[in-house]
Symmetry: C2
Subunit: 398 residues, 2 copies
């Protein structure tokens, strides 16, 4: 009746032909003893995590435990925060920007060009005026341009998406400079709302020494982070934290759920909070710190080796995302699961990536390049516009 | 560091204290041999199901298999449909209504008062004008009122949410009458968009003999259904099917995903399509038919027994949702996981509910009522306004 392969054909063997080197840890090391048992139950965290609903098979106490951990990480008091575990980074952005719009119904959404596509999708869904702001070569928001654009829209409140790690270059927007720019442009704290999209790097940055701090002690409205990237949850999920005071603007009671409707989704995966809680407990703050250090070390190693091989590459100081010249061969891109944009590709170095894997990758890349470029007819592309002249490996700049 | 219970404390024992009788089959009978293996992989169906993205550990071929099955069920040709597996019924409604709004940017959203709360959330999120339409006692949309409201808004296109099973009463809106009302009110097919919210009953109705047919041969735009209710998937999920022609109005290309952005969420659970596919394959059309018949039979049995015990109750002809007098005791409500609204409660009879469980429930209800109402000080509430005089069991109407 249905023409798709048998389940047994999604085999380890088939998956092992791929060598994903980026983004999502795909081979997980959870202890499945206890957790696998839970797959027999339909666990569903309907509605608001802080209000008991009438469906009893939930994992709300784990969810609130995870949220407490993140609220503490981002320095918001227990009685002052609200949040929930989302289905993915997109849901976090959709929620954060919606809260911003409900706080400032006529606010303009500002987001840099290198923001995640869900930010612009939100603007369209929510019928918000959206102003795109230029970026620096690093991928960070250009606050000079931001200032100029604020200046021409002084009469309307500002809702700003701040990237804690952009999708392609892993660039971290300078939150302090964004706030300073707003203040210098005459926007008082009651006339702007900042959502921090920390999908990837929101959870890594607290463990990086020199990184500017994401904290609710600064005038921000919400932070979101993904749970299936750095944390390695086996299903897409994320964490969204906002100020409790804002959530009242958004929510309404739903009697038949015996709950409040403040989330984007209604039924919510109840297994994800347990996986997140388990990982937070097992690794703890120190464990994450170690893993972040390993990721950054390995990313530097990779960038240095790529550069040493004469290939254009860039690594932002606060990031584990190595940007480099786009490989010429789509088969190579597919095999290593590289994400590409224009002339560049990237590798997001996650905890599951070893030095050996990076060496394998580099060896194959160098070998393949010698074939692609052997007769001189095809040349390595110039990526100076993407990564700066000093990081480019093209004939002109190297 | 985190103050929540140990994983081992979510035990079978604790869950078994609850006796959920409604909505979500919580104790699943999947064969976990093959499926449990897959939990070791982070399976992620990024972006559009019909376009290969750059993340290779996906279950897109299962997803498309499931979508094909549903497109065939609802009679839309393979090259004319688009769809995806959502995170829940809410995402289906958010998507369907968004497609409607993109097709008719100045359209008015019409939905009956008994529509799911996500429909009104969509209107608010999307900044759409929303007109609430009255319902009949059954819970169905009142097409007389619909006509009157269309009449006062003739100048704007209509986007209509049609309920294939309302949340509380399981009422099925009369799709044919809705279309007829639109036509009689001068709305030609190019001036309205119908989204069918079939969260619960969308998958059951095709197997009910006398039920009006949900089919794309009628002028409808989209249908959504939940996967964790009747189908019994262990994680919240749903299926959304729409016309391919509409999706171009909504989508944009996202280069770094090598995909198209036509879904609400970005990362999408890759395990859900496999569970859905497995169930469709294992049970098949005939299996579902049998289960639907069993649910309807059991629902009739329950309604008849409740009425025979002198208690007010109603069961819509095309539904397995039994509505009855709200129990007086919150502990009883919690133990049986009943959803309540005003003076009524409901039981959604799903395939996992046996006659024995229904008998247990009724026995306990009758026993408890004899305590609640023993001294005559408290009387059974009148629910005539909710279920009609003929179905009420109060002192006045019985």
């Amino acid at each position: 009746m249905i023409c798709v392969p048998e389940i047994s054909s999604i085999s380890h063997q088939e998956i092992s032909l791929l060598k994903p080197i980026t983004g999502y840890p795909y081979n997980l090391d959870f202890d499945y003893g206890a957790l696998a048992q839970l797959q027999h139950f339909s666990i569903n965290n309907l509605g608001d995590p802080f209000i008991e609903s009438n469906y009893g098979v939930h994992s709300r106490q784990f969810e609130v435990g995870v949220l407490d951990w993140f609220a503490r990480l981002w320095e918001l008091e227990k009685n002052e925060y609200w949040g929930y575990i989302t289905n993915c980074g997109t849901e976090g952005n959709l929620h954060g920007i919606l809260v911003g719009r409900e706080v400032f119904p006529d606010g303009i959404l500002y987001a840099s060009w290198e923001s995640h596509y869900s930010v612009f999708k939100a603007a369209r869904m929510y019928r918000m005026e959206c102003v795109k702001v230029d970026t620096l070569i690093s991928g960070e928001i250009d606050c000079e341009d931001f200032k100029a654009k604020l200046f021409t829209n002084k009469n309307k409140p500002a809702i700003i998406n701040v990237n804690i790690g952009t999708t392609v270059k892993g660039a971290v927007d300078d939150l302090d400079l964004v706030i300073q720019t707003l203040e210098e442009s005459g926007f008082t704290h009651d006339r702007f709302y900042i959502h921090c999209d920390g999908a990837l790097f929101g959870l890594m940055m607290p463990f990086v020494k020199r990184a500017p701090k994401v904290t609710f002690k600064k005038p921000i409205g919400s932070v979101s982070v993904s749970g299936h990237k750095f944390v390695g949850c086996p299903m897409p999920c994320g964490v969204q934290i906002t100020r409790l005071e804002h959530i009242n603007a958004l929510s309404r009671n739903v009697e038949y759920l015996a709950s409040r409707d403040a989330t984007i989704m209604g039924c919510r995966n109840g297994h994800a909070p347990i996986f997140l809680w388990y990982t937070l407990n097992r690794k703890g703050y120190r464990g994450f710190q170690k893993e972040v250090q390993k990721c950054l070390r390995n990313a530097y190693y990779l960038k240095d080796r790529i550069r040493a091989a004469g290939i254009g590459a860039m690594l932002n100081e606060l990031s584990s995302t190595v940007v480099f010249e786009r490989p010429q061969d789509e088969e190579f891109v597919r095999r290593w699961q590289l994400a590409c944009q224009g002339n560049i590709a990237h590798i997001v170095v996650m905890p599951n990536i070893t030095i050996e894997k990076l060496d394998d990758f580099l060896e194959e890349l160098v070998h393949k390049r010698s074939i692609w470029f052997q007769d001189g007819k095809v040349q390595a592309p110039c990526i100076a516009a993407d990564v700066g002249k000093e990081n480019c490996g093209c004939a002109l700049h190297k």
